[in-house]
């Protein structure tokens, strides 16, 4: 095995993280941190997958929550069907997860085929419209989805591989696995040859077409992958809450995902994860003093946009680069790219 190969390194990192998280689950005495992290895994996948579109392909989707919700609902509806669970037995949860992944991917593919023909703001609005349409359909099909009330009554999750999703530790480990698998997929995409094509489309779609690349197909592919991974995030949340709600596909979820990316850093791979943690931190700290968490988030965002003028991780990387640039008296832009690469390498 070639340890210098970027794929191997990315997979290795994921594996190390997984082991560390398992150790954490074993030694951590309480439940609070584990459930908090499980929640972060869910939003983490939503945000990271959206970042593949917004940050890497230049596709601003306003409707990414649709795929998040789709994952949760497919997972939940499958497991709430007694006959199916009886048929699959201990394999029910893995099968439901796989189905959620594939089903959501298919859904994203169909929407992507329609949306990718439009550019910029029209693309954004069309994805938004599809998302709201999904909310309406969920609310309208009361007998299947529970309508406004969501998938109530709990989602049965039969034990598998010795993991019982009712146990905090068990579901934490399974969620961590799904999360790392999802992030790894996105990481591999960005490192692969396809990843370079995505960046070309982001930078200059017309020129990319002139290099003989079918950019429409590139966009549909990115949209599908991102959708499927977001669906995995929905599965995690459905496991955690034992439910699914129409709000998961709501405007607010998509909106917050975009802002989380911007807050954390649009130009770095791990920026969105920083954003998720910061958002959650602001939320929880504010809650100690007051219920007005939105106010605190709003002020924080304004600060980031108007003072830092870029996401937090981007800002840190630029700062480091600037300092280094002064020290070495080197060309700033070269240092910039170097520091950016190093930060990514160090992280991976």
């Amino acid at each position: 095995m070639n340890l210098a190969h970027p794929f191997v390194r990315a997979a290795g990192l994921a594996l190390v993280c997984f082991v560390l998280l398992i150790v954490l689950a074993l030694v951590y005495p309480g439940t609070w941190l584990l459930d908090t992290l499980t929640g972060l895994f869910a939003s983490g996948l939503l945000v990271m997958s959206l970042h593949l579109l917004v940050g890497y392909t230049g596709l601003v989707s306003f409707g990414h929550a649709a795929y998040f919700a789709s994952g949760g609902y497919i997972f939940g509806m499958f497991l709430q069907t007694p006959d199916i669970v009886a048929a699959f037995g201990a394999w029910s949860v893995p099968v439901a997860t796989l189905l959620a992944l594939l089903g959501t991917g298919l859904f994203a593919l169909v929407v992507g085929l329609i949306c990718a023909r439009l550019s910029e703001i029209y693309f954004a609005f069309l994805t938004l419209a599809f998302q709201m349409l999904l909310v309406s359909v969920i609310q309208g099909l009361v007998q299947y989805t529970g309508g406004d009330q969501g998938l109530m009554g709990g989602i049965p999750r039969p034990e598998f591989l010795g993991l019982d999703m009712v146990q905090v530790k068990d579901r934490f480990v399974f969620s961590a696995f799904l999360f790392l698998a999802g992030v790894l997929v996105i990481r591999l995409v960005t490192l692969s040859s396809l990843g370079a094509t995505l960046r070309m489309v982001r930078d200059n779609e017309v020129r990319t077409a002139f290099l003989g690349v079918n950019t429409y197909r590139v966009k549909v592919l990115a949209f599908t992958i991102a959708g499927a991974v977001a669906g995995l995030g929905g599965v995690i949340l459905a496991i955690l809450t034992s439910a699914a709600y129409p709000e998961w596909a709501g405007w607010a979820v998509s909106g917050e995902a975009i802002f989380t990316i911007m807050l954390g850093g649009l130009h770095s791979f791990y920026g969105p994860l920083v954003g998720v943690v910061v958002m959650r931190f602001i939320n929880d700290v504010t809650l100690i003093y007051t219920t007005h968490t939105d106010l605190a988030k709003g002020v924080a965002i304004l600060f980031v946009v108007l003072v830092l003028r870029r996401g937090i991780l981007d800002w840190i990387i630029d700062l480091r680069a600037a300092r280094r640039g002064r020290k070495e008296d080197d060309n700033v832009s070269r240092a910039l790219s170097k520091a950016g690469k190093e930060a990514e390498d160090a992280a991976s």
């Binding site: 094509t197 070309m200 982001r202 077409a209 592919l221």
Partner: protein, 258 residues
């Protein structure tokens, strides 16, 4: 290699390409000159599928490519650089070239290989050397000098190993020194790469020195074709183009009308 057959392109009342019939034999280095608005870029846009001709035929390597999609035409082996440098501003020079090479190596959709694939990397390094762009290889494309950006644009086209390379004013917007250098590079590329090359240029001196065959375009129509001497001596050309107008058009680099 490329034959234009009674090509006509109309924009409403304006005839931008007026019954152009031209032949570009394989392996030649030809230039197209003509005043602003003569329809030079429009001609390129039709060859590369950006625009569909109103009538007439475009035949490339024996095949009628009229009306084909740009991406399909690129795959037939026609590469193109643009009047206004058309690059990938946030990528490094190296990364941009490698991406283009990767696309040409059918790896654009490849998930199984890390970027850049080994063969892609090798070819990219060759290209960097060929273009003399190693010193700026790791700089961000959007931040390098204008001349380097134009060169990178040519490099992107070159990455496709084109049989026919179209360069729209490769030296536009450069200082006198740089222009000569650029034309030298173009000539060197043409010699080393064994391809057919057509470039557009306003500067008569540059054209006379660089091109084997020159086509003069005016009001969308071909005014004259031939070698430098013939063109130099053509009274019509002298009157229409080599007059006082040259100075005014030289430094011009308007936006691409596409």
């Amino acid at each position: 290699m490329l034959r234009l057959d009674h090509l006509v392109k109309k924009f409403g009342g304006l005839t931008a390409t007026n019954d152009v019939t031209l032949d570009f034999p394989a392996g030649t280095l030809s230039a197209i000159i003509g005043p602003n608005g003569a329809g030079k870029t429009t001609l390129f846009n039709q060859i590369t599928g950006h625009l569909v001709p109103t009538s007439g035929k475009i035949v490339f390597a024996g095949e009628d490519i009229t009306g084909m999609k740009p991406a399909a035409i690129v795959r037939k082996g026609i590469g193109r650089a643009f009047q206004v440098a058309n690059i990938f501003p946030t990528m490094t020079v190296e990364e941009a070239l490698a991406s283009a090479v990767s696309a040409h190596a059918h790896a654009a959709f490849e998930l199984s290989s890390a970027f850049p694939r080994r063969d892609v990397k090798t070819r990219t390094e060759e290209l960097l050397a060929l273009l003399g762009m190693e010193p700026v290889a790791r700089r961000i494309s959007g931040e390098i000098s204008h001349g380097d950006q134009k060169l990178l644009d040519v490099g992107l086209a070159l990455a496709l190993d084109p049989k026919l390379l179209l360069l729209d004013e490769p030296a536009a917007g450069m200082g006198p020194e740089e222009r000569w250098q650029m034309m030298d590079t173009v000539q060197r590329l043409w010699k080393s790469q064994n391809m057919t090359l057509i470039f557009i240029e306003h500067d008569i001196d540059l054209v006379f020195r660089t091109a084997e065959i020159i086509h003069v375009l005016r009001y969308g129509a071909v005014l004259a074709s031939g070698q430098a001497d013939e063109i130099r001596g053509n009274p019509e050309v002298i009157e229409a183009y080599l007059g006082s107008e040259t100075d005014a058009t030289e430094a011009d680099s308007r936006e691409e009308p596409a």
